[in-house]
Point group: C2
Chain length 325, copies 2
């Protein structure tokens, strides 16, 4: 500001008044124009930090994520949160903790020191958590997780609706005997997708049959290992807990000479980027709405939309039709 | 600070002296202990922003990345950069631009406003770039890309060494007739891996044969489409430009009843998380050192290691042996 004042031949106070558009300041048109000209020439920007100090909170929103490095999903949460934050003039401070408690506590302390407007706390898979200490010192919204004690607003995917949509896609293609390869990991995804699967069957008048549900590790190896069990049931369609499971099942079915979807239809979940669209045949699946979770988290944090006080806010998992059903 | 002073029954100046360990300040042991006690109790932290203002630069390092959302690689660059930044007391400000010029320019301006110590500018695939304006106003290190005009220090993967290591793994397993499915995208990966492939062959006394090199789109579809061409050459081993290409080739080979590695050996590149270890059989590959690129970028930025002035610094791509060779 001093530089600008010198170059424009006015006082620092005058520069400040012009730059901050102070109402009621008596500044001549000539001086105002000189200041604006010099500001444009020198590329002067009001100091963001000085503004923060005088206001007491910054234009930062913190995002604490547990697995940026090990999952492609985190990227979409960051992307959605950042787009929404920028739209409203906020900057996203991202910290990666890889589930390390010390790193997490350090990240939260750093964000509080920088007087963030609030913190989004996110996990890479949807689950109930006990939020770490420190979050109570600022506005907090949980993203892709929820407080087991219900203390914080949260936004999570609608696992039930997603499981229902996946099963409905198989039913709509004429399948009645539909197997479900579910994860062995206890989680809202495990129970929610199962409940959705049951509900879709029941809505179509197909009785639920427990022997069609196969617990498996939620990756390629789990899908592959389930192949024989699934085939023994005579199922003509399979809903897989996620796309990685579907990818493993593809391998198992192909080894047995079966064609997808002619001999057996396969439905995934996640719409995982490097897999789903590139399997042979391309995988029909249900998308996890990570971008939307990040964006909605910011909207809740900024009070642009109100949260549901007693339960997490649910975001739809839209079905993506490709060629495996 | 006012709260601390009140609770400890001392002046604000005394608190400031104790907290900042001011030398030469005459403060009684008793007052000092009272202040320290209250500080511990209230969890007082010196204001990070006020410190930055008085110092002129912050403890921030900016990271501008072009594709956080669409590639799992970005996560590893962030992870490496963050770990290294935190180790030295710096905080990473991450901005995602999705290759949008306006978002990029906004991200850089925001970082400059927050008086970052410097900026890491990174791309999701290794390439030559013309760095955007604004970077010249702070310390800048390019990560996974390099300045076509040579103006900035840079750190990139050693594609030549990686291509050589991949080919050497096939040679070591006894293969002499080795096909290379290369990308159609002009890039340091395209030329560097090819040069490494040639060098490894020549070092083993195997003449380079241009008809063994297949240009293909660098994803599953490209690998699948290359299957017949590769088989016609009588190659017993195939080096694939990346793991996605290898995944598509797997599909093509299996459809023709060929076993990996018994009938034909396959080597990937990237060590992509959700794919490489989970193919059947698990894919032998070469790892792109994204974590190390991020970490080394921070070390160059902080002057902890010196950059090579005339060319980008190269980071090794280590081979990962699994079961496909």
């Amino acid at each position: 500001m001093r530089e600008v004042a010198k170059a424009a031949g006015v006082s620092v106070a005058t520069v400040s008044h012009v730059v901050n558009n102070k109402k009621g300041a008596r500044i001549g048109e000539d001086a105002r124009r000189r200041v604006q000209h010099v500001v444009a020439e020198l590329g002067y920007r009001p100091n963001a930090l000085a503004k923060t100090l005088s206001r007491g909170t910054s234009r930062f929103i913190g995002l604490v994520a547990d697995a940026i490095a090990t999952t492609p999903f985190a990227g979409q949460i960051i992307h959605g949160a950042q787009d929404e934050a920028w739209k409203h003039g906020y900057i996203l401070l991202v910290a990666n903790t890889e589930s390390n408690a010390a790193a997490e506590s350090e990240a939260i302390a750093m964000m509080l020191e920088h007087q963030v407007h609030g913190i989004l706390y996110s996990t890479w898979y949807h689950r109930g958590i006990t939020p770490p200490e420190g979050l109570e010192k600022t506005e907090t919204v949980l993203v892709n997780c929820y407080d087991l004690d219900g203390g914080y607003p949260a936004v999570v995917p609608d696992e039930y609706q997603g499981g229902r949509a996946a099963t409905a896609a198989l039913l709509a293609a004429g399948h009645q005997r539909i197997a479900f390869i579910n994860t062995t990991t206890e989680s809202p995804a495990q129970s929610g997708r199962l409940a959705g699967y049951r509900a879709a069957l029941e809505a179509s008048g197909v009785p639920f049959d427990d022997s069609l549900v196969f617990p498996a590790s939620p990756q390629q190896e789990g899908g592959y290992a389930s192949t024989d069990g699934v085939l023994r049931t005579g199922a003509t369609g399979v809903f897989c807990h996620n796309d990685r499971v579907a990818m493993g099942l593809y391998d198992g079915l192909r080894e047995r000479g079966l064609r997808i979807p002619e001999d057996i239809a396969v439905m995934g979940f996640d719409n995982q980027d490097v897999i789903a669209a590139h399997l042979r045949p391309p995988l029909s699946t249900v998308a996890l709405p990570h971008y939307e979770l990040g964006a909605q988290g910011v909207r809740l944090l900024l009070g642009l939309e109100s949260s549901t006080p007693d339960s997490p806010q649910l975001i739809d998992c839209p079905p993506i039709a490709r060629s495996s059903v």
